[in-house]
């Protein structure tokens, strides 16, 4: 079987400006190493309210509040042209406010790490009860909370990290160990936030596609966090922890890592398990990254614009056997950035785009859209990092020129036609191609597109293990309409041989 069906997908954001202000890596490290600097004193003036984030066109594109065609018509700059008709919920998920997210983190905490203040917990319970994906069973995990005095003792005496809402301490993240740095509050905050945001997308997927939680067979998680202790620093396993809270009682799971290339590699791992028949279905999921909140805020503050990196991103995609009625992910022509391919953009683009096209005998023009590194350009441009999706589209167009499949003068037409405007938060693994899966599948179902390519790239060198980067890619397209054949059995082979022998016999006669 060379293709699997994409049955469902979900995308959510958690708007967490105060978590970012205190624990996003840029402000957190600055505070730790330099104290209250000018940047830190100015940053609070640049934070966005929930409504600002909700009405921000890229965020609405991410959760499916608008289609990508509608997104293209939104006036820029988006942060000065907020949408007037945006809602909390989109076709794929929601933008959850910070207080409710702290509640969701408590729901996802099974080790009494998160403590919320009693009255705050009570208010949050009422709000979360109105969220259509938060079932009574999920909500029952929310604790009644603690007195503020108890929380303050944890913060002052046991190095718990305070959690804030509207500038007040409303809870804390407690330490998981006296000496193990892997279980200190900051690490646990990162991991629990990632877990909770992932759970939210899983819950939306189950609801939106009417999937029984008990039917999920296997979960592969692909964020960039590391869960473990000092004996096994990133031993895992987020996937099973997420599955537990989402009620996926018949599933198991494991984690796949690869920096920003993680999600595409996880999709390939999941699809391969479904295609081989090893799993009935596979859910690929990732939550967001607290350290990346306000990563570029220094430049946003300098340029007198809102600090836009205030949301945790998450997604979930459900892969099933190709039954002929869902768009399919192809496994017969994957892009792979090999060790020997070289690190230049040209080598990477060739490996990820040209090689799989050649493998299937396709031209650049046979793909309707290329989705790589879908960062919102308004976030990256002020920081000098350029328009990342535009740069990727230009690279593919330039390669197409080099392969003599496009005239140089038509490069920008190619970019306009086959490229995408970025709409994902700079959450590392989150922008890397996967945010387009939902929109692509919808457009394929509607007959607007036939084939797209999803591309992920990862900066492996950041871990100091290798100077290499990585990348992977795959095609999504319309199903052939015929259910794919499962793994070939001995009997299938026997039957085929007998048929062939029969044909030979007939031709000899």
């Amino acid at each position: 079987m060379s293709s699997v069906g994409i049955k469902g997908y979900a995308y959510s954001l958690n708007h967490v400006p105060e978590m970012g202000l205190h624990y996003g890596n840029t402000p957190y490290v600055e505070r730790l190493t330099k104290g209250e600097t000018e940047f830190l004193s100015k940053l609070p003036e640049h934070l966005q309210q929930y409504e600002d984030a909700r009405d921000y066109a890229p965020n609405q594109a991410y959760i499916g509040g608008i289609t990508l065609d509608e997104y293209e018509t939104q006036p820029k700059p988006w942060y000065e042209n907020r949408m007037t008709d945006a809602g909390r919920y989109g076709r794929y998920g929601e933008i959850m406010p910070e207080d409710e997210f702290l509640g969701l983190m408590d729901i996802c905490d099974v080790f009494d790490i998160i403590w919320l203040e009693r009255s705050f917990a009570s208010v949050v319970r009422e709000k979360l009860a109105k969220d259509p994906v938060i079932t009574d069973k999920v909500l029952a995990r929310l604790e009644n909370g603690h007195d503020l005095d108890e929380i303050n003792v944890e913060i002052e005496k046991h190095r718990a990290l305070p959690l804030y809402f509207e500038n007040n301490v409303v809870g804390c993240v407690r330490s998981g160990h006296e000496v193990d740095e892997c279980l200190f509050p900051y690490v646990l905050l990162e991991n629990l936030a990632s877990k909770a945001s992932a759970v939210l997308s899983v819950l939306h997927l189950l609801k939106n596609f009417d999937v029984d939680p008990g039917e999920i067979d296997f979960v592969i998680e692909c964020s960039e966090e590391g869960a473990g202790d000092m004996n096994q620093r990133a031993g895992g396993n987020f996937a099973k922890a997420i599955a537990e809270i989402a009620g996926l009682v018949n599933s198991s799971g494991c984690d796949v890592r690869g920096f920003c290339a993680g999600p595409v590699n996880a999709m390939i791992a999941a699809a391969s398990q479904v295609a081989s028949g090893a799993r009935k279905n596979c859910l690929v999921v990732a939550g967001g990254a607290v350290p990346k909140l306000y990563m570029n805020a220094r430049d946003h503050v300098k340029k007198s614009m809102p600090a836009l990196e205030d949301c945790l991103g998450s997604f979930a995609v459900l892969l099933v056997e190709d039954s002929g009625d869902s768009p399919v992910m192809r496994l017969d022509a994957l892009g792979k950035h090999t060790v020997g391919a070289g690190a230049s953009p040209q080598a990477v683009t060739s490996a990820l785009v040209w090689d799989p096209l050649q493998k299937r005998g396709l031209t650049f023009n046979d793909v309707d859209k290329y989705a790589a590194e879908l960062h919102t350009p308004e976030i990256t441009l002020p920081a000098g990092a350029g328009d990342v999706p535009l740069a990727n589209s230009k690279m593919i167009a330039a390669l197409s020129v080099m392969k003599q499949q496009l005239e140089k003068k038509d490069m920008m037409d190619f970019v306009r036609e086959k490229g995408l405007t970025g709409f994902a938060h700079t959450q590392g693994h989150i922008p890397s191609g996967v945010p387009y899966i939902g929109h692509a599948c919808d457009a394929i179902r509607e007959g607007k597109l036939n084939r797209v390519m999803i591309i992920g790239k990862g900066s492996l060198f950041l871990a100091r293990l290798t100077n290499l980067s990585d990348g992977a890619s795959f095609f999504i397209e319309k199903s052939s309409g015929t259910p794919a054949v499962g793994a070939v059995t001995k009997d299938d082979v026997k039957r085929l041989i007998l048929e062939a022998l029969g044909d030979i016999k007939d031709s000899l006669q």
Binding site: S344, P345, G384, K394
Partner: protein, 109 residues
């Protein structure tokens, strides 16, 4: 320019004769290229890294400058870099670095 790269360049300038050192940039952004060039020639303008206040005066070029391109193996250039020549604006990148070099570098090729 990140702090580790600043340290690497500072170490190299101490270990080798600065006259014999050339910094080749591959930045895709003219503004960024200017800052990198200024950093290795006149010191870190953000005063954040090891090159803050250190005027190494190194020769600095963008890879798209003719002086560098003409030294490159044609086949390797074609295989590794020519695609990016179409994607980026080589002239403005080259001009940005050349201007910084003229202003701050004590050495050149």
């Amino acid at each position: 320019m990140d702090l580790q790269n600043q340290q690497r360049i500072k170490d190299a300038a101490e270990k080798y004769n600065p006259e014999d050192l050339v910094v080749i940039l591959g930045s895709s952004d003219a503004e960024g290229a200017e800052i990198y060039a200024e950093t290795v020639a006149n010191g870190d303008p953000t005063f954040a890294g090891p090159l803050a206040g250190v005027q190494l005066g190194l020769a600095v070029y963008h890879v798209f400058e003719e002086d560098v391109k003409s030294e490159a193996d044609t086949a390797a250039w074609e295989e590794q870099i020519s695609m990016m020549e179409m994607v980026l604006d080589p002239d403005s990148l080259a001009a940005a670095v050349a201007a910084m070099r003229k202003e701050y570098s004590r050495y050149s090729l």
